[in-house]
Symmetry: C2
Subunit: 474 residues, 2 copies
């Protein structure tokens, strides 16, 4: 699929910086076959899963060690050339785009597990490992890493965007699950943040500052994560509802009474239809919740009974249980494929994804008005959500050649974000700001907070070489 | 008690900055009776519960509003005078000391609850409210704020030190429980960080950067916290063990199998004796664990049975249960009074408190060597710990007039911290760095991370007026 040209007043201008030929020579000399300037490689690294396109980077360096990352950044610093870290390419907000030119620094070959400490429930990995690779490698230990954004993202990328996903409602986000980092700074130095201790009051929380900084403050080369014991019992269920509102009100009450539900995903009728077609399923074509419970056998039973009672009050149908692991996997795979099912439902389309997250009590208000507006717009869309956290995604499926559709979709997004901010929420629950939500960030947090972010960026990356042009303009 | 003069090579030098008389005049003019230069008030605000002393601040401003905080800081900025935020005065690492001169900014009158949102499990408060005031005010809502550092600290101070305490093992620390802030910056501007949404990927995590920054980057004037439903069932128990090691191994196994215990406090024999005397109790004079379980009635029973089984394996005695709320309160009050019980056991002493936190698997090693060294030192001490988090506190009770005792105690602390860092831990689990642990911070995190902190400080407080001389030298 050809990526569309960036268009419309909602997107920033792209001003390419000069890339000195001496820089590319020095890079090639240092990295040899680990450096590619082939157009196919550059193009693959110059886009993500989002809907915006920019010219590709001038070269791609495949780092294999912390030393490689240091040297690439030191060279880029010397020539004041942008460096864009690249993991699995699954980000959604234009994070990987070389909007000011520069090079892509691919860390996917740095995918080793450096140490597993099951006694302390920690694991230290390189940034290029994906969450599925990690869980596959440790599956015999009795522990797992729960954060699951859907895509098989790299741990480095998940760290950079403060990712979360389906079971953050129980296990938290990358904010809560990254303990420590080895980081290459904008000058090419290596620092360490955090420790393997569970908590600390040792100075500024640099780990949390880097988590979610979208590659603009440093490149993580080692990441220490929390692990969790595989739950003794797991059960999953789906429940259909007469309306989105009924489903959402079930979730609100479940969270408010403190049920430690492990996953609770909203799937609207559009998504159910798309998923049925794409994954050859026969799910009932009604709004539904897809739930998972983790705990001891009695705990899981207790949780499920409480939620069944609540669902019943709101007209939910009887739970359909997925008892066997393969049935659970099938259901959640269907959920994770909603995005691809939707994109497949309109060939050639691009998807503009919203990511608002609101306080749980305001979820129904925030959602239902946006459903009405989307229905009125006549743009094909789907709606899914990690609703236990108050986080939901509309996907507007636009014709990339139609600036009218793009503008209408962006307007829907804008209205949705305004509403979320108005009720005390955020424009992005888990995807990050990238180049797509800069103005939303300013609307949400105010100029003062953005100025503080810019001051930090200038202090830590004075030449503005680390993923420049993302989160805010400098 | 007269505070001792700072002594010894382990402490930083204090270089007072000039305080222009025009500044004090302008302050007095703006704040009238809200500004005091009385020596008793200044002395009370120029110390904390730690063991180090410095000359008192030149004045104390009692802020009653965000506007007051802004104006005090703007004036201080104009004259480049240090401002030291003050809440309840319960910090332990010299955080409140005017080591470079300046004024104390007392926010204890800003103690209102601004909004309670039980539907969203959030509350927004002013910084001067204490944790007990907060919980007393919301006790009829069915929700509570769990973070409990022992002292009745202010929420502002707890935010500044990234406090935690007895039930952080279940509910996390201030890192996990502060959602959003209103902050007055070093220029006197007001910014907002975070939202009431449960999660967000909206740019740099300024909230987490401010939490734990010890008043050096801004003064929080509104703090939004998470609330939790009061557990349906609570039960507490004590269990005595033949040795500290047996108690600690019980805790390690409890955590490793994932029991969601709400509190698990280690109390050594010395502490038990001191507490028995101070609180007129008759606890068995053996190392003990003080535990609390929260959950549904069956959940609590299940948890307690699992821990009883583990304790039995390590020779623990039968649990003694505290079923009634007043009995639980009595036990935990005794625990919280351990510090005061210890100080009372040696009249006129000061207490040097350690605060290391290590990965749980290394807890026994880290603790037992330090017990041996403390026993050999002949300095009176006690040992308590939030051991479920790997965090423990030795309190060395020194004669403040004896530089020999101070040096020996600091040497014990130094050895303990070195050991903690060596096993992947931190020098401070919850008290913060202050002026006491600057070198430890550098030992722990390395020069590179401290340089990053300094760069952030310089960028956000270019005149170095916000609590200068804490965490690191500038």
């Amino acid at each position: 699929m050809n990526a569309p040209a960036a268009s419309g007043s909602l997107l920033p201008e792209f001003a390419q910086r000069p890339i000195p030929p001496e820089f590319l020579q020095a890079l090639s000399q240092r990295f040899g076959a680990q450096c590619s300037t082939a157009m196919a490689v550059r193009e693959q690294h110059g886009r993500d899963e989002g809907s915006i396109a920019a010219p590709p980077p001038s070269a791609v360096v495949f780092a294999e060690s912390t030393r490689d990352v240091q040297d690439a950044i030191a060279l880029a610093s010397q020539y004041a050339v942008p460096v864009i870290p690249y993991g699995a390419g699954s980000s959604l907000e234009g994070h990987l785009l070389a909007v000011q030119g520069g090079i892509s620094l691919d860390v996917s070959r740095m995918n080793r597990i450096l140490s597993v400490n099951t006694e302390d429930l920690t694991v230290t990995v390189q940034p290029g490992i994906t969450r599925k690779q990690l869980n596959e490698a440790i599956k015999d230990t009795g522990f797992f890493f729960p954060i699951d954004p859907g895509a098989d993202a790299s741990i480095g990328g998940m760290t950079a965007t403060r990712a979360s996903g389906t079971n953050a409602v129980r296990y938290g986000t990358m904010r809560e699950n990254v303990l420590a980092l080895e980081l290459v700074t904008a000058s090419g130095d290596v620092i360490r943040t955090g420790t393997r201790a569970k908590k600390s009051s040792a100075g500024y929380d640099l780990t949390r500052l880097i988590v979610g900084s979208e590659g603009t403050l440093g490149v993580a080369t080692e990441i220490t994560l929390k692990l969790y014991p595989l739950p003794e019992a797991v059960s999953a269920a789906i429940c259909s509802f007469p309306s989105i509102e009924a489903a959402v009100r079930t979730v609100i009450q479940t969270i408010q009474i403190g049920v430690p539900i492990a996953r609770v995903e909203l799937i609207d009728v559009n998504s159910v239809r798309m998923v049925n077609t794409y994954s050859k399923l026969e799910l009932r074509e009604e709004p539904m919740l897809l739930m998972e419970f983790h705990g001891s056998p009695t705990g899981v039973k207790e949780q499920a009974e409480m939620v069944q009672d609540i669902a019943g009050e709101f007209g939910g149908n009887a739970f359909e249980w997925a008892e066997r692991p393969e049935d659970r996997t099938r259901l959640f795979t269907a959920r994770h494929n909603a995005y691809f099912a939707a994109v497949a439902s309109r060939p050639g389309c691009r998807c503009i994804t919203t990511d608002a997250c609101v306080p749980i009590s305001r979820l129904a208000d925030a959602l239902l008005d946006s459903v009405r507006e989307a229905d009125e717009s006549a743009i094909p869309y789907f709606l899914v959500g990690h609703v236990g956290d108050g986080n939901f995604h509309f996907g507007y499926l636009i014709d990339p050649e139609s600036s009218d559709e793009r503008e209408r979709a962006e307007r829907l997004n804008h209205q949705l974000v305004e509403r979320a901010i108005g009720v005390g929420g955020t424009c992005t629950g888990e995807h990050g700001v990238g180049i797509h939500k800069m103005q939303f960030l300013r609307d949400e947090t105010g100029d003062g907070a953005v100025e503080m972010m810019r001051a930090i960026k200038r202090a830590l990356d004075p030449k503005n070489i680390l993923n420049p042009g993302k989160i805010f303009a400098l």
